[in-house]
């Protein structure tokens, strides 16, 4: 019988922090500026320039550490990681090795219905490098230092994951936590979240770890899942063939669904880490830590529990709404104004999700204000507009954040409240549709629907369908 293998996976996750300025200078962190415009002597490594730590980086990093149940290192330090590469203007990266800001944490994931803890070994702060642009035409390489000095945290997990599903669950969990903290948008495609996968396989039941490889260049959750499957298969094939897995860094090519070796342990660099002498140790006082703790928002898991309990929102809906803190905030603020959480939930779950999909947007990009959605709900609840009008108005709210009452008034979309006018129209519809009337009286309930439809059409949609229904019955 063929041997059974277990995959062992640990992750190194780099996250770009959402600070306005860089980690060691006051240059903008904005993505996509003209090359080398967000630069200064510090982030281009000019002689004589010195780094000054951005305290917001420490706050974000400590907040992530706390949310991931880590111990916060109360006196932490930066170290220099020395290596030569043109994207790194000083030829050393300011990072943390000896005293990282957080360690020994965990996050809980849902792995196929069972809860599981993924331990976090440590988390450290560091600066990002610039970007190299290879000009094939000219056979030259250009450097853009706009990204140089953008703050990063690297989150290093223990090898606690065993499948791509667990990896995805872990990454989604980290992403949600970090997004909830407002510490990063965590976009894999744009590189604000970068994942390196350390993977080895071993025979099921084996205690020791076998040699692992490190996989880089993973730009989507799908690519990560494919790379894990690919690397697992590659390593098992090597073992089955009696060959050894070489400890090396590999680069995943998602188009070819294959990886190739970048460098092996033999030519691994000696980074000659040592304490960064240009920066003083960071002392995180009890008061500072307490302030960070107080500012921590309610996290997704607690929100789901609370929505179910307080608002009677189903689990599935609560999960969707809380998948983005922004959406959860909209839900909570709108509910607080209109006091109809279930209605709010419906608007988010159905129409909002539909429009997000239609426009290819992320929940983070929702730009309407809770007060306008609340007003729309009030307008429908009080029968001033009907549901189909409400849907049309909501589209305007979604795209332009219009004020619904003003919009309804300006476009004369309110229901006709004059009963006399409605009666006139109803009588006309009955007179013009004798067959439907006969059918209805003959017991065909459906025929009534047709009459309602005709009435709504004649009223240009500005009637309350429930009211039309009721009046028709009375008349017939």
């Amino acid at each position: 019988m063929a041997k059974q293998y277990e995959t062992v996976i640990g992750l190194e996750v780099h996250v770009e922090l959402a600070t306005k300025t860089k980690i060691f200078c006051s240059c903008s962190t904005e993505f996509g500026g003209t090359p080398n415009t967000h630069t200064c002597p510090v982030c281009t490594g000019m002689p004589g320039a010195l780094p000054v730590l951005n305290r917001q980086v420490v706050e974000y990093a400590a907040a992530i550490g706390l949310a991931a149940n880590c111990e916060i290192t109360r006196v932490c330090k930066f170290d220099r990681k020395n290596y030569f590469y043109p994207d790194n203007p000083q030829n050393y990266q300011i990072s943390q090795l000896y005293l990282p800001i957080a360690k020994n944490g965990y996050v809980e994931i849902d792995a196929g219905g069972t809860k599981k803890k993924i331990r976090i070994h440590e988390m450290h702060m560091e600066e990002d490098a610039g970007k190299l642009i290879h000009d094939e035409w000219d056979d030259t390489t250009l450097v853009d230092y706009n990204r140089s000095g953008v703050p990063l945290v690297e989150i290093v997990s223990e090898p606690d994951m065993h499948s791509s599903d667990e990896v995805t669950a872990y990454l989604e969990k980290l992403r949600t936590i970090i997004q909830y903290l407002g510490a990063s948008d965590c976009k894999l495609q744009e590189g604000s979240m970068r994942v390196d996968v350390n993977l080895s396989v071993r025979e099921t039941g084996m205690k020791e770890y076998r040699t692992r490889t490190e996989m880089k260049n993973l730009n989507s959750f799908k690519a990560i899942a494919r790379a894990i499957e690919g690397e697992r298969t590659r390593q098992i094939e090597l073992l089955e063939a009696g060959k050894k897995v070489v400890q090396e860094t590999r680069r995943w090519d998602d188009n070819k669904e294959a990886s190739y070796a970048m460098r092996s342990k033999e030519d691994a660099k000696d980074y000659r880490y040592f304490p960064e002498p240009d920066l003083v140790p960071i002392v995180i006082s009890e008061e500072w830590l307490e302030r960070i703790r107080e500012r921590q928002p309610q996290m997704r898991d607690e929100k789901i529990k609370r929505y179910k309990k307080e608002f009677d929102i189903p689990q599935y809906d609560a999960e969707i709404i809380t998948s983005s803190r922004h959406m959860a905030d909209i839900f909570e603020e709108t509910s607080a104004i209109c006091k109809k959480p279930k209605k709010v939930s419906n608007w988010l779950m159905v129409e909002t999700m539909r429009l997000l999909k239609e426009y290819g947007m992320e929940p983070e990009e929702i730009s309407f204000s809770p007060k306008n959605l609340a007003k729309l709900i009030q307008l429908t609840e009080s029968g001033i507009i009907n549901n189909s009008v409400a849907k049309a108005v909501f589209e305007k709210i979604f795209t332009d954040d219009v004020e619904p009452d003003r919009y309804v008034e300006e476009h004369k979309l309110g229901n006709v409240s004059d009963e006399g006018e409605l009666l006139k129209v109803l009588q006309k519809v009955i007179a013009e549709n004798p067959q439907a009337v006969v059918d209805y009286k003959g017991g065909k309930e459906k025929a009534l629907g047709a009459l309602v439809g005709q009435t709504m059409k004649a009223m240009k949609g500005k009637a309350d369908p429930g009211m039309v229904h009721k009046k028709l019955r009375e008349l017939l």
Partner: protein, 506 residues
């Protein structure tokens, strides 16, 4: 009026009183530079036109009474590892031969704001690595007291320029003695302040945890005046400290009664030149006669200071100098194939031998497997040395020592034996390791006619005591000038039009 023989404070006072103008002062120094530079070679760059232009601007401000500080209109020379916007800053290295910074170092900016006129950039050991100013890519600087001897280093150009009266004062930097030792060799006064007193922003780093900028001048008063101008808490330098006070001139009182002075016995051992020893002992006696309580004691750990210093300084230097790679600025080899070849050739050709030696040493002590044995041990030694000084300062107000074991050696005598050159730093490096302030003041000349310097070491942020002792000693002595600058009748030459910048060769 012999402008160039005045101290900076005297000159500043005369300018303030309209007895002479900033332009006249600059012109007088340019004449002196023109007269002596071919012999001494203190400068890498003399900015004649720029200096005259700045002097005119400053004189306008003085006339409008917008500038009235003690250094307004006073010409200064700046060590060439301090960035000066738009003015070449070479670190005396081929690597930065054509490097013109985009910003000015904070300490230099402080001087500019005070109205001092920068007349040029002084020669130094390449990237401040060396004790003789012989490792400069632009050629050696000679000691104004005897042109066959070195001026010391690495701030040899600054100290020689002050001794040769080519500037009223100068800025130097001191990582392991680079202000104090050349001050001693050139018979001038130089102070290395407590680590964190002067902003390092814009100082091209050698050993970041040890580097401090400080003044080199004719006397103790000048040093105190200049220090008051350049010392600051700078948010751009995380290691700069907010001091309780920036008042150094009120320390200038001729009174050492009851001051407790410790002399480390373990400094007075084999290797210390007998004549130097005699001068230091004599100076101690002078202070004792003025009422100080002088006592010998054991500092301990003396022999560990040099190895600890060279491990730490080289480790930091190796990393600090990695940015000089030919990619962004500085020297790039003309021919290369690919990135690695560009790095290798640019750095091999751009750096001199001593710099490469220290980069290799620094890389070695940080390499995996050696870190604990060398770098970490050196850090522990540094902490123990600091403790030893702390203990001494519980008992003594200041510590008195030689600045260097000998007077200035002959040109060429040190380079062939780097280890011997390193041992010459024995009395200065521990002060940097402990972050303490130290001053070197002239106490006489030896039988060869070369100056001897005495070092006074204070405890952290206690420059005041050190300045007071130095000032009190200085009152007993007349400032000695090298024969070179003693101008005979009619010897003075007129200012030559155009001046000149120093070439590479000497």
């Amino acid at each position: 009026m012999d402008i160039t023989s005045m101290t900076a404070a005297e000159l500043g006072e005369r300018i303030k009183n309209r007895e002479l103008s900033a332009v006249e002062a600059v012109k007088a120094y340019l004449v002196q530079i023109d007269r002596l530079e071919s012999d001494v070679h203190s400068f890498v760059t003399v900015d004649q036109e720029g200096a005259l232009k700045r002097a005119r601007e400053i004189q306008k401000k003085i006339d409008k009474e917008q500038l009235f500080g003690p250094l307004a209109g006073v010409p200064v020379a700046v060590k060439d590892n301090l960035c000066t916007k738009g003015m070449l800053t070479t670190c005396s290295s081929g690597m930065l031969e054509n490097f013109s910074p985009a910003f000015t170092a904070e300490a230099v900016k402080k001087l500019e704001n005070a109205g001092a006129v920068i007349i040029g950039k002084t020669n130094m050991d390449e990237f401040a690595m060396g004790s003789t100013t012989e490792t400069s890519y632009f050629g050696v600087t000679r000691n104004p007291w005897n042109l066959k001897h070195v001026p010391g280093g690495s701030s040899g150009g600054s100290c020689a320029a002050v001794a040769a009266e080519e500037c009223a004062f100068a800025l130097g930097s001191d990582t392991g003695g680079s202000i104090r030792q050349p001050s001693s060799f050139c018979g001038v006064t130089g102070i290395k302040p407590t680590y964190g007193t002067v902003s390092r922003y814009g100082l091209i780093a050698y050993g970041s945890s040890l580097d401090q900028i400080g003044p080199v001048a004719r006397d103790v008063t000048d040093c105190a005046v200049i220090l008051e101008v350049i010392a600051s808490h700078d948010p751009k330098d995380s290691t700069s400290m907010q001091r309780e006070t920036y008042d150094f001139t009120s320390a200038l009182v001729d009174d050492v009664k009851g001051m407790r002075i410790g002399i480390p016995q373990d400094y007075f051992t084999e290797g210390l030149d007998k004549e130097v020893e005699r001068h230091i002992q004599h100076a101690a006696k002078v202070l004792e006669e003025k009422g100080a309580i002088v006592e010998e004691f054991d500092l301990s750990l003396v022999k560990y200071a040099i190895p600890a210093y060279y491990v730490i300084a080289s480790a930091e230097a190796g990393s600090n100098l990695s940015r000089f790679d030919g990619v962004k600025y500085g020297y790039r080899t003309p021919e290369y194939e690919g990135l690695h070849s560009m790095y290798k050739k640019s750095r091999s050709e751009g750096f001199g031998a001593e710099v490469k030696r220290r980069i290799m040493l620094g890389s070695f002590v940080l390499s995996s497997g050696y870190y604990d044995a060398y770098y970490l041990k050196a850090l522990k030694t540094k902490a123990l040395i600091k403790q030893a000084f702390d203990k001494a300062f519980q008992k003594y107000d200041i510590i008195l020592a030689p600045a260097a074991p000998t007077t200035a050696p002959k040109l060429g005598a040190s380079l062939n034996d780097p280890l011997k050159m390193y041992l010459g730093d024995i009395y200065t490096v521990s002060v940097n390791l402990a972050g303490l302030p130290g001053i070197s003041i002239p106490v006489g000349t030896d039988s060869k006619g070369l100056p001897v310097g005495m070092q006074i070491i204070g405890s952290c942020f206690d420059e005041v005591k050190l300045l007071r002792a130095a000032y009190a000693y200085e009152q007993t002595k007349i400032y000695e000038r090298p024969n070179l600058v003693k101008k005979g009748q009619g010897e003075e030459r007129a200012l030559m039009e155009g001046g000149r910048e120093n070439g590479k060769a000497v």
